[in-house]
Structure formats: structure tokens, C-alpha cells
Symmetry: C2
Subunit: 206 residues, 2 copies
């Protein structure tokens, strides 16, 4: 071992593997490469995690649960619905900004290897059903009071997620095709953060 001699090898493997899986997906990442990046023997990756699949699952489930639990964190309940909505949309954006490659990994693994769906479903089951129920109830009150047009929680969430997630999934397009500099990209997504909130709020008007 070269690097990371100080810290836990198992942890080092997890960290390096997470970065590589997020960068290039499951198929394009090899255990040989992970070991090399950690600075350890390739057999060690299997010693600690047995298979590449298990290593991936461990990392993905941990990452997904962390993401979801961070998002779930209740915000101040005693504020108007629209303010809370703005808060949530921005919190979703911020969380994506901290985990910009997670959505792609989810899409990638679910698309190229549907057998992994079960493990991913397991990881995502951490999203309580109650979230949708609760949102639907809140929406119902707003709709009945004529403050917003009729809309389902699912549709609202779809709009939010689409507008926010695409900022990060499409980054390689902005970089390669549109020749965005890092500054261009940074400016763009920050501007869109507010634009997205505006569009979502606007789309709810009765």
C-alpha cells in the first residue's frame, strides 16, 4: 500500500470505488483499477467485499439512503405552503449540487442492468410513502382554498425533479457540446435554481 496507509483500507476502497462508480458507472470500473487507485493489491478489494457487485450495492445503497434522508429532513412546518415549496425545491437543488453524479448512476444502472433493479428498489424504499400522502393532503387544502390549481403530488414532484436533475445529468453536454467553461456552468445552474423555483410556483397558479 502506498497512499492511505494511515487510514483504514476498507474505508479507502469504499471511497475510491464510490468516486469511480459515480464517474464511470459499474461496467466501466474494474476492481483492478479501484485497487490501483487505492494503492493496494487487487485481491484486497475482493477480500473486503467479495464481489464487485456487492461492493457496488453497498456503496449505492449507502449513498441513496443518505441522499434521501437528507432530503426528508423536515423543514419548518409553520410557514405558508408556497414558502415551504420554495424551500424544498432549493433544498433538492442543493442536495443534487452536492451529489451531482448520483442521478446518472441511478439511471445508468437501472437502464443497463435491470436485474439490479431489486437492490435499487430496496435502497429507494427508504423514501417513505407518507411523503406523497402528506404532500397530497397539503395540496388538497391549497386547491380547496383556491390558492393553486388542481394538481397531484406526483405531477408536482415530477416537474421539480425534472427541472433540477437535468442540470446535473446534462452537464457533459454543456461541457462538450456547448463548450461551457466551469464558470459558465456554475453561473447557469445557479441562475436555473431560481428560474426553476419560479417556473414551479408559476405552474401552480389557479
Amino acid at each position: 500500500m502506498d497512499i492511505n496507509k494511515d487510514q483504514n483500507t476498507e474505508q479507502a476502497i469504499l471511497e475510491v470505488a464510490e468516486k469511480l462508480f459515480l464517474d464511470k458507472g459499474f461496467a466501466m470500473t474494474t476492481t483492478t483499477e479501484i485497487a490501483k487507485a487505492v494503492g493496494c493489491n487487487q485481491a484486497l478489494v475482493h477480500y473486503y467485499f467479495r464481489t464487485k457487485e456487492k461492493l457496488f450495492t453497498t456503496i449505492f445503497e449507502h449513498k441513496a439512503k443518505l441522499f434521501i434522508s437528507q432530503f426528508i429532513k423536515v423543514s419548518d412546518e409553520n410557514i405558508p405552503f408556497m414558502d415551504k415549496l420554495k424551500q424544498k425545491v432549493e433544498a433538492h437543488f442543493d442536495l443534487l449540487k452536492e451529489n451531482p453524479k448520483l442521478p446518472f448512476l441511478l439511471f445508468n444502472e437501472l437502464t443497463t442492468n435491470p436485474e439490479r433493479a431489486k437492490s435499487i428498489k430496496e435502497a429507494l424504499s427508504y423514501i417513505p410513502k407518507t411523503i406523497f400522502t402528506k404532500l397530497n393532503e397539503e395540496l388538497k387544502v391549497e386547491i380547496e382554498n383556491g390558492r393553486i390549481r388542481p394538481i397531484s403530488a406526483f405531477d408536482l414532484v415530477y416537474t421539480i425533479v425534472s427541472l433540477n436533475v437535468m442540470l446535473f445529468i446534462a452537464k457533459p453536454i454543456f461541457d462538450a457540446v456547448l463548450d461551457f467553461s466551469p464558470q459558465d456552468y456554475s453561473d447557469f445552474i445557479e441562475r436555473r435554481k431560481h428560474e426553476n423555483v419560479k417556473i414551479i410556483i408559476e405552474s401552480l397558479k389557479p
Copy 2:
């Protein structure tokens, strides 16, 4: 050769490879598998296309150019801006519906193998710059006449593409995580087609 004995082998390879690349991406598709699906010897894939990379590039560039040229097709010029916008958003949706896996392939290849960016850039350069210029001019007129709020062509396009494309990229999530049946999915995206138009129109109000 078993199947496709009637038709051109080269063409058969292209068709089968296109399906497989779209289904599973470049990395997860093997030339052996392509040959097997075509019903020919694996060496034939290399005989006609030399390398897997060349085969992929041929297919991708053709697909991308087709998609773009179909979208570019001018619609009736003599209708109000908002009507044209609605037409375009729906045309974009319809085109995606016919090529539901193309966006993912684009993201996948650009993300997992950035070296391929050049060839993809080449394929996408088929999008004339004038499109954005023209849209910006049309927007300017609408803005100056107070019919819509100030917005850039790029932002408008981002909103349209995000809302439409996510319907298809996220399909594996709807299927696996939300247990959508084919009918559920079909109903959902058709509803969203109109919902997306509404959101986009609404988001432009002054």
C-alpha cells in the same frame, strides 16, 4: 446465417447493434452478442465495421442526425408564437416517444467515456446555430410587445427539454421503483405531454 438471410447482412448488423446499444449502452453490448442476435459469425461484425467503436459511431451519428433533422423541419411560420411553441414542444415530445432511448445513450456515452465527446459533438453539430438565433429574435419581439416575460432562448429550450426528456430517461424508475404497468406509463406520459406544454406556456407569462 439463420435469420436475415434474405436481406443485407451489413444492414442487419446495423439494426441489431442499434437496438442493443440503445438498450444497454456501448460498454454492456459485445460484438459477440450482436453477431449472435443477427445470426452470423462474430468476425462479420468486424469485417463490415472493423471496430466496435466505429460501428457505434456510425450508428450514433446517423441516429442523432435523423433526430435533429426531423425536429428542425419548419412548421407553419404564419401562426402566433404561442401556437408555434405548443407545436414545437409537442413535436419534441412525439419525436422522443419514437426514440425513447436515444437521450439516455447520449448521456451515457458522454458521461462514461468523455473521449467520445468529439464524435458526439460532430453528430450534434448538425443543429444549426441559427435555431437559437431565430428563437431569440422571436422571443425578443414577444418580449418587446409585452406578451411574455424576458427570457433567453437557451433557458426556454432547457425547460422544454428537461420536462420532456425526463419522461423517457426515468422510465426504468417508473417501471422498477413505482411498479408502473405499461398502461400506467403510457397514461402518465400522455398526460404529461399536455401538462408540460401548460407549464411552459404558463412560465412565459409576463
